[in-house]
Symmetry: C2
Subunit: 322 residues, 2 copies
């Protein structure tokens, strides 16, 4: 649920006058994205999404995110495309917040993705990596390996309240990842948050990828490891090797992993599990009074981490050597 | 903010198969209405609102609400029109809840209604009363004079926590209203909740009236008193006699008040102020943990009640004798 900032009819009308979208016909706050305020906007020119960027999104990175979406759409990827104001700028201000209008994409999220969906997601992710290959912008991953100790620092004193022994387990995992994290893998722009709620389907086809507000420059295979964790576990926590094999198959049909990337997948998957466990722990332990967001269970990702700790080779994750 | 129940893509597809609306193209939870879960639904046939009725809405009254909207739309009033399934029924079940699909209305709520808007609201309310005149259904007002003592009972012990002396003030007002409440006024179907967030405007015109889930059979002039309180006070709490005069003018252009109705407006306005003060007090004192709804300040309506307690004649409220 996310509408943190209200938009008055008068302010909206003034904002729209800086665009070539005609007058406003409707505006509905929508429950999408947890970081920003999102609205479905109907104007005389069609349906759009209006986003007001809240404090948790770095304002300095907004031009990067918008330029990336523009570039990806230009390359034929189905993602929200920023609409430019008459001034040429894709970024404006509304109700005291940075604000942008992007195109509205049809599609519905999959609540229970199946094997075929995982294959299509692998393919879509590889196409995203390819489409971004000639993008000029870059952005450091603020939530990468080097940031995890800082994320963990305030949790040292309360992680055991969530589950006994968790503090020691996370400290040990951080030490492991620090020594074993792969170096010199192919890098590029990654989505970094391609969870099922950020992928739209129409029938059996992926109709759109959304929410690029974690996109950054990092190892491409790390993005695949994030998807492995997000798409290839069953609701009861069991790993689905069939879904994982389909994910890798779909990805490699478009972009073949290098031998070093394939070998690194188990460690990348541990890191990806820890990264989401850490941010979910922070959200879990810091729910503000009157919050509109229900935090996600951090233990889901601790469970995924424990699964990956028992894995030795990428083959055990369904990645077949070619 | 209101999306209490999630709808899976599979359940939605099955639900839509019972309609002639084609396949689903998009579904977005929207922040509208505090009692139900609402979604913007895009299908191959256009844009609609999908509502899942939550526990606070009486399930037995749903056929009344839907039939009323159908009747009003048939009479030319711009309001959401229920879409019937192939079975002919406007009410189905989805995700374990009663559910309905209604047409999507363009328009934007007024955050700061002006005098002209108040005149248009008066006119729209009178047209609603006229359009409903030959509606066969009826529904007792569950929040009328006779219900207020029950609403107040649990508040006796905590209203003073909100403001010192409030319990005694409300008890005295209930005693006053019990003896002075008008009888034998013209009755009919009233909206009973026509606040600015339930009225859509396109440019200067009222483009739609929404949220009929408090509609009931009661004194028509009581509906006007509810609007007087909802539309004719400034954000700082000051009464605007210019807005009130415009509201009455707009209403009477379509439907003239009887002398008894005109004389009763001051008492009806006191009752209307108390009714919303009571339900807001209940919401204020009963915010559940993890609620997605921010309760509205009950003291706003206590202030309006105090204003009306100082009024003797309808003329002081801008209602000119004709």
């Amino acid at each position: 649920m996310a509408v943190y900032t209200e938009v008055s009819d008068v302010a909206l009308a003034a904002f729209l006058e800086t665009y070539d979208l005609g007058g406003v016909r409707a505006l509905k706050g929508i429950a999408e994205g947890v970081e920003n305020s999102n609205f479905l906007l109907h104007t005389e020119k069609g349906y759009f999404i209006l986003t007001l960027y809240e404090k948790r999104v770095e304002a300095d990175s907004l031009p990067f995110f918008l330029a990336l979406m523009d570039h990806l759409a230009e390359r034929g990827l189905s993602c929200p495309r920023p609409v430019r104001a008459r001034s040429g700028s894709a970024l404006g201000r509304l109700s005291g917040r940075p604000a942008a209008i992007v195109t509205f994409l049809d599609g519905v999220c999959r609540n229970r993705p199946d094997v075929g969906d995982c294959e299509r997601i692998g393919e879509a992710l590889a196409r995203l990596h390819q489409a971004a290959a000639d993008f000029k912008g870059s952005r450091a991953n603020a939530l990468s390996l080097s940031a995890w100790p800082q994320l963990f620092a305030p949790l040292r004193f309360c992680a055991d309240d969530v589950e006994s022994g968790l503090t020691a387990a996370i400290a040990a995992e951080l030490a492991f990842l620090k020594t074993r994290w792969p170096r010199d893998l192919p890098r590029g722009i990654i989505h970094a948050d391609l969870f099922p709620d950020n992928v739209l389907f129409l029938g059996d086809e992926v109709s759109g990828l959304i929410d690029f507000y974690f996109a950054c420059t990092d190892d491409l295979a790390y993005d695949l490891a994030i998807c492995l964790n997000a798409w290839c576990f069953e609701p009861d926590g069991a790993f689905s090797i069939a879904k994982a094999a389909a994910l890798f198959e779909g990805y490699q049909r478009v972009r073949r992993l290098t031998p070093a990337e394939a070998a690194a997948i188990p460690v990348l998957a541990r890191g990806a599990a820890l990264r989401f466990a850490l941010t979910r722990l922070i959200d879990w332990l810091n729910v503000p009074a009157g919050a509109l967001v229900s935090p996600k269970d951090p233990l889901e990702y601790i469970g995924k981490l424990r699964f990956h700790q028992r894995i030795g080779e990428a083959e055990q994750l369904g990645l077949n050597p070619k």
